[in-house]
């Protein structure tokens, strides 16, 4: 079982990202859940989305989880959210930021003993340059594919193309570029 917790603002596409990941997984014979805790939250409010991934059907419906991956797609939430909640000794963090990894970790006390498990990239800048809007979910998926070794990049890109097939070609191309760039840039 792999558990993933997204930290996002409502409107940044964490739910779409979590569902897109699930869509790809569902075609591979894996089982997944994609859900969020938002309810009445308005655009811009901090919220969480979640994925569970397993080789067999998933029957645990507890919202709370002990994540294997924490994905932070809004730069400020790394500072204001409790991103290390329910941390395990193996939990990996992928954080969007314009800072270097060292700069970021030096400013967040909760990450200081976890430096070897922290990965950074600037999903906002990548999505602005590739998709043309600050939609950091697609680059975060690219980074997750790299850090988790869940898929080969090409396999994931093919899967995402199918998920996005109803969108205009320009949007599909933008997302493919965003995922690829994030895959290569996350460190």
């Amino acid at each position: 079982m792999t558990d993933i917790r997204w930290h996002s603002r409502a409107g940044q596409g964490a739910v779409t990202g979590a569902k897109g990941l699930g869509d790809v997984l569902a075609t591979t014979g894996k089982y997944a859940q994609g859900y969020a805790l938002y309810g009445s939250a308005k655009r811009g409010a901090a919220m969480n989305a979640y994925n569970r991934i397993a080789d067999e059907p998933i029957i645990n419906h507890e919202t709370n989880m002990f994540p294997d991956f924490v994905l932070v797609i809004d730069p400020a939430l790394a500072f204001s959210d409790d991103i290390t909640k329910n941390d395990k000794s193996t939990t990996k963090y992928i954080i969007t930021t314009h800072l270097t990894k060292d700069e970021l970790i030096s400013q967040i006390p909760a990450l200081q003993d976890k430096a070897d498990r922290v990965f950074v990239l600037d999903c906002i800048e990548i999505s602005l340059n590739t998709i043309g809007r600050a939609i950091p979910n697609a680059p975060m998926l690219g980074a997750l594919v790299k850090v988790s070794n869940m898929f080969e990049l090409d396999f994931f890109l093919d899967g995402m193309k199918k998920v996005l097939s109803k969108f205009p070609q320009k949007i599909i191309d933008g997302n493919m570029a965003a995922i690829t760039r994030a895959y290569n840039e996350v460190n």
Binding site: Q33, I59, H61
Partner: protein, 414 residues
Amino acid sequence: MAKEFELNEMEFWDGNYAASQALRQAQVDVVAAYPITPSTPIVENYGAYQANGYVDGEFVMVESEHGAMSGCVGAAASGGRVATATSSQGFALMTEVLYQASGMRLPIVLTVVNRALASPLNVRGDHSDMYLGRDSGWINLDAFNSQEAYDLTLCAFRVGEHLDVRLPVMVHQDGFTTSHKAQNVNPLQDEVAYKFVGDYVPVDDMLDFSRPVTHGAQTEEDWHYEHKAKQHKALMDSRKVIDEVLEDFKELTGREYKRVETYMMEDAEVAIIALGSSVETSIFAAKQIREEEGLKVGVIAPRCFRPFPFDLIRDAIDMSANLKAVVCMDRSAPGGAMGALFNEVSAAAYTTKNRPLITNYIYGLGGRDFGVEEAKRIMREQKAHADAGHITTEIQQFSGVRGPRLGFFTTRRD
């Protein structure tokens, strides 16, 4: 002619989407709906299918949920296949018309995404709305995940419209936990699904001008009682048809459903009884505690909440000769009583061979998370009752509530 919708063998759907696809595949003649959180996407998706040519029927936007169910009653009495969706306050506003629909024996399908009732206002999942409608004369089926929300919605048409039943059917799923959680769903292709549901057969339809009928007539003491008695008998007798339809569905899909689901009950010493998504979390916890602590826990789950499966609940309780303690989980504010599931299960258990110790937990109100550790704690507590030979706590307790401990009534059989 409605367009065919392209579906993969494995989709990643939330419960709302799953339910809306089942409504589309059943080719409903009239959907009259007024959207409300968390069931809004069922109505929204259905409107999109209609606008994009995937549905031949009518989609009627009404001014309230009372109007929605009234529209459904009118359309069903006229002789069409009818369905809608609602939750919580919307369900409450529909309640008057729910009784009209069942009394008029109209096989409407209502997909209910369960949500708490105000006040305080809350959009999240609990079973307050399900419990509010439990005596309204509808058949109530309960889905524990989005696959089941899809499957049971298809089955609901077959059950309600069956000529030996002709009763409205609700299909419940948990607000957010099921309705907004995407998971793997294995849908049927349009043609297969429609063939399973079958063509609608009108009975005493008002649009049959060659044979005029009246629906919703007034009867006073001369006939009202006989009508209600017959209606109750129809609900009780629907058990056979429900079993048959679920059996047919299993033959078609390999997915097996029963009016009461039992898990690991063959050798269970203690059991947990729940509704909705908590059933699956309980199975998950029971498997863990069996492995980790050797505690023989089983899970019992009414798939069909109405007609209440008095028969199969008793079978489940007598399934293991070792069953000593049972806990009934009620996800609805009990309003000055024991939980409804506790009351009904206790009544059924009274005439079983095992007559286990039975306790009641109120839990998860307004969407409070029901976790694996808490489920395991409750299971261990049942084992303590079993070992002591009597109930060692209050009979009714509250799980996961802040503030001073709450508990009511103690046993007199120690």
